[in-house]
């Protein structure tokens, strides 16, 4: 599957990278779970989201291969991503001020 574009071939990461990323993802998930058990008060949510953001960046870039794609895909993805960030921020105006 990964060999699709021959001109991108040298960018395709090997299975080793995939396994490392997978382990990192599992590690981050267990951190999220552990952190949820500690009472961080207001910033607990921010920590959870921060870890989730790192995880999705890894998945999007490596597993979904965006890192090796043309600029136009990155632009469109960035637009959607920024929309999501703005939506999060606006929701926080509610959650953090109730």
């Amino acid at each position: 599957m990964d060999q699709g574009h021959s001109k991108h071939e040298h960018h395709t990461p090997g299975y080793g990278i995939y396994i490392i990323i997978w382990l990192v993802l599992i590690g981050l998930t267990s951190i999220t779970v552990t952190v949820a058990g500690i009472d961080f008060g207001m910033i607990a949510l921010a920590i959870a989201l921060f870890i989730a953001a790192i995880k999705s960046a890894l998945v999007i870039n490596i597993f979904m291969h965006i890192k090796f794609e043309e600029a136009i895909f990155k632009v469109f993805l960035l637009v959607s991503g920024m929309t999501l960030v703005v939506i999060f921020l606006l929701t926080f105006f509610d959650v953090y001020n109730r």
Partner: protein
């Protein structure tokens, strides 16, 4: 069907199909964007008629206080079904799926959309979603009674078929996303040579902005629905406070989709208005770029205002004033459009044919709807008006008076092009007039009722509201007659109407350069575009094009 004028020995798309089948199969397996547009037209009109029937029956129940036609449980199911059908099956898919499919490729000089098979698939997904909605009525448990918003916690606890109904909304969302993907790609990749972004007709701009909202916003409702299912089926606490969830989170997620969705409903309508006004005023549009960019601005700011539906739900004060402020900002790009349309008509040579009359009635009704939106967008007044008939009046003015009216405007504008037949102009003029009267009789009293305190979603009311409710019900009867007139005129002309010429209104965008109905692949030769979309000096030259 042998229809209409045929260009240069060429057959129209009715007579030639993209597959080797004939009859009904040639339609059900078609990949022709025009045929798919017509398939959508048939399905969506059918659901509109069903939804309107529910509305008229509800009005009948409300003709007098007390139970007249149906009890509370039936009424609850009626407004839910009416809302679900009108929103998910009529107004969200409506204009993009019918007119976007049919005219987007024509207006940019393409032979089809970018992914014709995907296009057919999205029609099938739409039909599947519709079947699920209908099934949810018939299964034991009974029709949904939550209102079209499916608010938590009630929607988790009611015994009615909520799971199936929201799953239907989930499926319909995919149809919407696929259509959006198709249109974005089509606009980027399939424009005729010379057709740069600023030579695109404004309808194409509006479809482009809409498509982006469909792609980015629709997944949110999909995820929300999955979460509700997890809660209903497995008891995982996400929204229900008794399970440790947060019911306001549901409202956030629901409106993060559903508010942008109201721009999915209105932007295409604004695009069609921007087509019709120049054609009938014989003038190029005033402020082309302002209109084009205000579509994008509306699409963008539309993401930032969702919580104005939640002012009374217990969200924080900070959030309330921020969202109220942002709501007022959306009024700006909408205002830009209305002023530009009016300025286009100024000193134009106006030809008041039915499509133009529909647009005039749109401008009045939509402005009333938009301005009362500011009333409910202000914090103080919304506390009083939230969940009253004022809101029911407001959203019917924007959705029905706005997009619904333009559904008819678009139909009456492009019908001769789609079917190659002309309807009865006189009857059409009468329908517009009747529609305007019926509409205001039906909905204006609701503003007053709401202001006086009549809550929405009740089958019964206090005696002092009787008179206004009666007026509204009488309005619903005239509306029913008008709707019959509107559709009967078109169906009659399909069977018996005169042939329509290639360019009945004197439009100049690309669809008027080809025969009515268009040939299978639209253009014998892909046109080269070297002028603005609304350059009426072209009309002289176009006279020789007609066949």
């Amino acid at each position: 069907m042998a229809n209409g004028v045929i260009a240069e020995n060429n057959r129209s798309f009715f007579e030639e199909s993209t597959n080797r089948h004939s009859g009904i199969l040639s339609w059900l397996l078609t990949t022709d964007h025009k045929r798919i547009g017509i398939l959508y037209l048939i399905a969506i009109s059918a659901f509109f008629i069903v939804g309107a029937t529910f509305g008229i029956l509800m009005r009948l129940e409300l003709i007098a206080p007390g139970e007249t036609l149906m009890g509370p449980q039936t009424y609850n199911s009626f407004f839910t079904l009416h809302g679900v059908i009108m929103i998910f099956l009529f107004i969200v898919p409506g204009l993009p799926a019918i007119f976007g499919n049919f005219f987007l490729p024509l207006q940019i000089g393409a032979r089809d959309v970018a992914f014709p098979r995907l296009n057919l698939l999205s029609w099938y997904i739409y039909i599947l979603g519709a079947i699920l909605v209908v099934t949810s009525l018939l299964l034991p448990g009974g029709p949904v009674d939550t209102g079209w918003t499916f608010y938590i916690p009630y929607s988790v606890r009611t015994g009615t078929n909520v799971s199936l109904a929201i799953f239907a909304a989930f499926v319909l969302g995919f149809s919407s996303i696929l259509t959006g993907l198709n249109f974005v790609t089509t606009v980027h990749r399939m424009r005729a040579p010379g057709m740069d972004f600023f030579r695109m007709p404004l309808f194409v701009w509006s479809m482009y902005s809409t498509a982006w909202i469909q792609i980015i916003a629709t997944p949110v409702i999909g995820i929300t629905i999955l979460l509700v299912m997890m809660e209903r089926l497995f008891g995982i606490g996400i929204f229900d406070p008794s399970l440790g969830g947060d019911p306001i989170l549901y409202q956030h997620l629901f409106w993060i989709y559903s508010h942008p969705a109201v721009y999915i409903m209105i932007l295409p309508a604004m695009g069609i208005v921007s087509e019709i006004i120049p054609t009938f005023a014989r003038r190029t549009i005033f402020g082309y770029k302002a209109i084009a960019f205000s579509s994008l601005a509306i699409a963008f700011v539309g993401y930032l205002v969702w919580a104005h539906h939640m002012f009374t739900s217990g969200i924080s004060d900070t959030a309330r004033w921020i969202f109220s402020f942002l709501t007022f900002i959306v009024a700006l790009p909408s205002g830009v459009k209305v002023f530009n349309w009016v300025a286009t008509m100024y000193k134009g040579s106006i030809d008041p044919k039915p499509p133009f009359l529909w647009v005039m009635s749109f401008i009045v009704l939509f402005s009333i709807g938009g301005l009362t939106g500011l009333v409910v967008g202000s914090l103080a007044t919304d506390i009083h008006l939230h969940d009253t008939y004022f809101v029911v009046a407001h959203f019917h003015y924007v959705m029905f008076g706005g997009t619904g009216t333009i559904f008819f405007a678009g139909l009456y504008y492009w019908y001769p092009k789609m079917f190659g037949k002309m309807y009865n102009i006189k009857v059409a003029n009468i329908s517009v007039g009747l529609f305007f009267v019926a509409f205001n009789l039906l909905y204006f009293p609701k503003f007053i009722l709401g202001y006086q305190g009549m809550p929405r979603r009740y089958y019964d009311y206090l005696p002092e509201f009787t008179q206004l409710h009666l007026i509204s019900t009488i309005g619903s009867w005239i509306m029913g007659i008008t709707l019959i007139l509107i559709f009967a005129n078109l169906i009659y002309s399909l069977l018996k109407g005169a042939k329509a010429p290639q360019n009945p209104w004197g439009g100049v965008t690309l669809e008027w350069h080809i025969s009515s109905p268009p040939p299978l692949e639209n253009f014998h030769e892909i046109p080269y575009v070297d002028h603005e979309p609304y350059d009426f000096s072209l009309l002289e030259k176009m006279k020789n094009e007609s066949h």
